[in-house]
Structure formats: structure tokens, C-alpha cells
């Protein structure tokens, strides 16, 4: 409870006593006007992740947009959390940095118990779910979709875990997940081609296929990607690299040709 009470109970901007939780309009009357995240500013695009034979693989590009401007080209949107998990985030980058601070505090205090117990991916995911839902209930959401993957030893042997939480607290577990545009463009590919017993090499191939589709179709993605994996051995975040692209497809030459719209 330690970490969470600090995160959502105590500090941070709170609703002034007596004011309506939904209101920005009457906040001035109380004198304690609160500012909430009304819109995201610097955002990262899709994250995709899937379980494979030995663990979980996660990937995203390293871009961050300022509105629709591709403003930053090398930000890390996948990080390790404790010993057994990795987290990937799309959405507001500053909110992700705040979440990372919460998680640092959480894993540090967990480590400081020094009793051999440690939070696994399932616990971290559940914690994030509470934080995200709590913040949305304060009408001050953390503007992210988070992907959490990990492997931890359980009573029935090594257990792989992959889950997602979004800015309103909706959460679920799946064998493969994708956020943002990836939810539309990568999920159909993953549904068709994902297998439980994929090797790491096969998983990388599948992930790259999804990333390439996203690169072609998602205007806010860039050609600089990062792949990370988590296994029983721990997490590895690989250095960024680019994929080979081919823009000579006839459909790319006149993209509006097949799209007959009413305007």
C-alpha cells in the first residue's frame, strides 16, 4: 500500500474541498484552481508486444510527436521495472516519466523489505491499473496506454505475463497486445500469425512485420525502432535500429486514387 497511498492518496494536485469533481468552471471561486491534463502534448505512438517461447518481446519506435510534429527522434519508451518486468508506453511522454517515478519508488520500497519477496509483472500491472483508474476518477488522467510484460516463477513454474492498461483504467491480459494505431494495424497480423511456441527469432520477424506496416501507414511513426525482451534471465533492451523500406509500390504512387470520398 505504501507506494500507492503516496501516489494517489497524499501528494499531487487534489480537488479543492467542496468543488465539483468535474468542474473547471467554478474552480476560480474556491481560489484553489487546479490544472489537469486536458490534452496530451508530447506523445509516443504504438507499442506492440507478444509472448514467445521463453518470455515476452516488446517493440516500439523511438519517436515522440509534439502535436503532429515529429519533434523528438530518440526517446526510450520501453523500460525495465524491477527484476521481472518491462513496461512500454504510448501517449503523453511526461505522464510516462511520472509513472516511471512511481514505479521506481515502488520497486525500491519493495527491494528494501529485503525479505526475498518481489513484485512480479502481475502485481505491477495491477498496481498500474489502480493508479490509472484512480487518476481518471479525479478527471486528471495519465494520458497513456501502457503495456506490461514479464516472466516470474510461480507455484506452477515460470509464468509469462502480458497485459495492458489505458488512460481510463481499462485493463486486460493477452498473448499479444498493441496500443494506439497498432491496435488497428498490428493486431490482425498478430492474430493470424502468433503462436505460443515462437522462438525469439520468429518473434522478432513478426514484430518487425508489424512495425513496418505501422511505419507505412501511421504518420506519427518513425524508422527507428527498439526491441526489448524479458525472460527468466532478466530484461534486455536492444539499441535502436532501422528497418529497410520500399516505397515503390504502385499503391503508394497515387494514394488517393482508390479512396473515393464524398469530399
Amino acid at each position: 500500500m505504501d507506494g500507492l497511498s503516496k501516489t494517489i492518496g497524499g501528494g499531487g494536485p487534489s480537488v479543492p474541498a467542496g468543488s465539483h469533481p468535474a468542474g473547471g468552471s467554478q474552480a476560480a471561486a474556491g481560489g484553489g484552481a487546479t490544472q489537469r491534463t486536458q490534452y496530451p502534448y508530447v506523445t509516443g505512438t504504438s507499442v506492440i508486444a507478444l509472448k514467445y517461447k521463453d518470455g515476452v518481446i516488446m517493440a516500439c519506435d523511438t519517436g515522440a510527436s509534439y502535436g503532429s510534429t515529429l519533434r523528438y527522434k530518440s526517446v526510450e519508451r520501453i523500460k525495465a521495472v524491477g527484476k521481472h518486468s518491462i513496461i512500454g508506453a504510448s501517449g503523453e511522454y511526461s505522464d510516462f516519466q511520472e509513472i516511471l517515478r512511481y514505479l521506481d519508488e515502488l520497486t525500491l520500497s519493495d527491494h528494501m523489505w529485503d525479505d526475498g519477496n518481489s513484485l512480479g509483472p502481475k502485481e505491477i500491472h495491477s498496481y498500474l491499473t489502480r493508479v490509472m483508474y484512480n487518476r481518471r476518477n479525479k478527471f486528471d488522467p495519465l494520458w497513456n496506454s501502457l503495456v506490461l510484460g514479464g516472466v516470474k516463477k510461480g507455484p506452477k513454474g515460470d509464468e509469462k505475463y502480458l497485459g495492458m492498461v489505458n488512460m481510463i483504467g481499462t485493463h486486460f491480459e493477452e498473448n499479444h497486445v498493441a496500443t494506439g494505431f497498432g491496435n488497428h494495424l498490428a493486431i490482425p497480423i498478430l492474430r493470424a500469425e502468433w503462436r505460443e511456441d515462437m522462438t525469439f527469432e520468429e518473434a522478432v520477424k513478426l514484430v518487425e512485420k508489424c512495425l513496418l506496416v505501422l511505419l507505412y501507414r501511421d504518420r506519427s511513426s518513425i524508422n527507428k525502432f527498439q526491441i526489448a525482451k524479458i525472460t527468466t534471465e532478466g530484461s534486455t533492451i536492444y539499441p535502436p535500429y532501422s528497418l529497410k523500406t520500399y516505397w515503390g509500390f504502385t499503391h503508394f504512387e497515387n494514394p488517393a486514387q482508390g479512396a473515393v470520398g464524398s469530399w
Partner: protein, 270 residues
């Protein structure tokens, strides 16, 4: 005339470096009826003597379920014990709300010990007058802790607290080495035998004891903390009595008992 000058509040040290009020609270644990706890790699068992306050009254509950994976048995002021078991329930439910996972037993015992410690360092507070055996299951298997009013806590393989618990401790000290690999039934039987040692003149039956168990099955699923039914307890008591009929067993155990009682008291009895 020669009244103890150093025992009027908890925060006053005696020149010998003792805190009398805390020591008095430790004494309260010994007044309550006995409780025992023991655990194997996978299971933990708690047992308590049910002693009615008077002929006409019922007994007070001494074993409480804290969560699916943990429970406590207490000796001393049962009223204080109920407050503490409510605290433990709160901690467990908060942890499972946030993390959707059970609170590890070592952390549960530590939170309880921290709470008890505060009462030994504030002039306007009084230490809890209750000792708790905290038993439960976590990732690393079954655990048993003893939490005392001084804020100390210890992990045990097997332990007994309350009135005449020395007899039960002697029994357990003789046998605890095998407990790691005991089956749940063997644990329950030893818990009953230990409880029996603490009874004075009374006969052990399902009506004067409570036994509870928690553990993990072979398939990895949890066997939730649960009081064992009176019928099952009576069955086990009866089967133990049959075994005791054998004269060899009886004489050897009596000899060992004499030897065992010379052993020094467990460290927290100071």
C-alpha cells in the same frame, strides 16, 4: 516503601536497562490459555485451547482467519487480539486490492511488529497485551511467526504460547526436526498432542480445542485457511489415544519429557 520506581510508564528506563511496562505486557501473554503453531514446507497449522471464562459462559475465540492465505492464534488479552487481527485483515485486503496478490507472511508479521513497537515508545500508549502466532502461505511456502507485545517477532518451525505452554514447547522441541516433511494430518496430530500437554487435569476433546490449517496442495493451488470441523478433530484425537495404548511408546515418551523440561526457555520469554 520499596515500590518499583521505574514502571509507571512504558517509556521510562530502569537503571538496569529494562522497560518494566513492556515486560508486564509480556507477562499478559502467559496468562492466556495456550496456543500452538507448527508448519511444514507446504502447510501451517494453528491450534488453541478453548477455555470458558466461567462455568456458565462460552469460550472466547482465539483463532482468526486473516485472509485466504493467513490466520492467527492469540494468547493474552483477546480484546487486544481482535483489534490486531482486524488490522491484519485490513493490511491483507489493501494489498490484494492494489496488487491482486496475497501479502507475504514475513511482511504481514513485520507490519504487526512495527505496530506493536510504537506502543513501547509513546508515553500515552500502552503495549498490546497479546501474543500472536501468525501462520500463512506465500511464494516461499508456509511460515509461522510469533509476534509479542514488545514489538519483537521471530520465525519458527513450531511454537507455543500461553499458560503452561512450556510443556507444549518441550514436546515440540523434541519433534520439530521432522516437521519440514510432515503431511497436513501429521501436523494436526502433533498440534493436538502439543495442546494436550498444556491441559491440566482436563481431557483433550474436540469441544475444548480449535485447530486451523492453511497450505498449498501438490498441484500448486491454495488450501485456504480453515478451521477444522469438530468431528474430524475428535476422529484424530480418538485415533491418537488408540496409538498411545502401546506401553513402549508411553514409557519412552515420559523419560524424554523429564529430560526436555530442563531445557532453557525460548529467547523471547525474558
Amino acid at each position: 516503601m520499596f515500590r518499583n520506581q521505574y514502571d509507571t510508564d512504558v517509556t521510562t528506563w530502569s537503571p538496569q536497562g529494562r522497560l518494566f511496562q513492556v515486560e508486564y505486557a509480556m507477562e499478559a501473554v502467559k496468562q492466556g490459555s495456550a496456543c500452538v503453531g507448527l508448519c511444514s514446507r507446504t502447510h501451517a497449522v494453528l491450534a488453541a485451547v478453548n477455555k470458558p471464562a466461567s462455568e456458565l459462559s462460552s469460550y472466547q475465540r482465539k483463532v482468526f482467519r486473516v485472509a485466504e492465505h493467513a490466520g492467527v492464534a492469540l494468547a493474552g488479552l483477546t480484546a487486544d487480539g481482535r483489534v490486531l487481527s482486524r488490522f491484519l485483515r485490513n493490511e491483507c485486503i489493501n494489498h490484494s486490492f492494489v496488487y491482486e496478490a496475497p501479502l507475504p507472511i514475513s511482511r504481514l508479521a513485520l507490519k504487526l511488529a512495527d505496530k506493536a513497537q510504537v506502543c513501547t515508545q509513546r508515553s500515552w500508549k500502552r503495549p498490546y497485551g497479546v501474543g500472536l502466532l501468525v501462520a500463512g502461505l506465500d511464494e516461499s511456502g508456509a511460515h509461522l511467526y510469533y509476534n509479542c507485545p514488545s514489538g519483537n517477532y521471530f520465525e519458527y518451525q513450531a511454537f507455543a504460547i500461553g499458560s503452561r505452554s512450556q510443556a507444549a514447547k518441550t514436546f515440540l522441541e523434541r519433534r520439530f526436526q521432522g516437521y519440514k516433511d510432515y503431511t497436513p494430518e501429521q501436523l494436526i496430530k502433533d498440534a493436538l498432542s502439543a495442546i494436550k500437554e498444556t491441559l491440566q487435569g482436563e481431557k483433550l476433546s474436540s469441544s475444548n480445542c480449535t485447530v486451523a490449517i492453511v497450505g498449498r496442495k501438490d498441484d500448486g493451488t491454495i488450501e485456504p485457511f480453515e478451521m477444522i470441523g469438530a468431528a474430524r478433530i475428535q476422529e484424530l484425537i480418538d485415533s491418537m489415544e488408540v496409538a498411545e495404548e502401546a506401553p513402549v511408546e508411553a514409557s519412552s515418551s515420559m523419560q524424554e519429557e523429564e529430560r526436555g523440561s530442563e531445557d532453557a526457555a525460548a529467547p523471547m520469554d525474558i
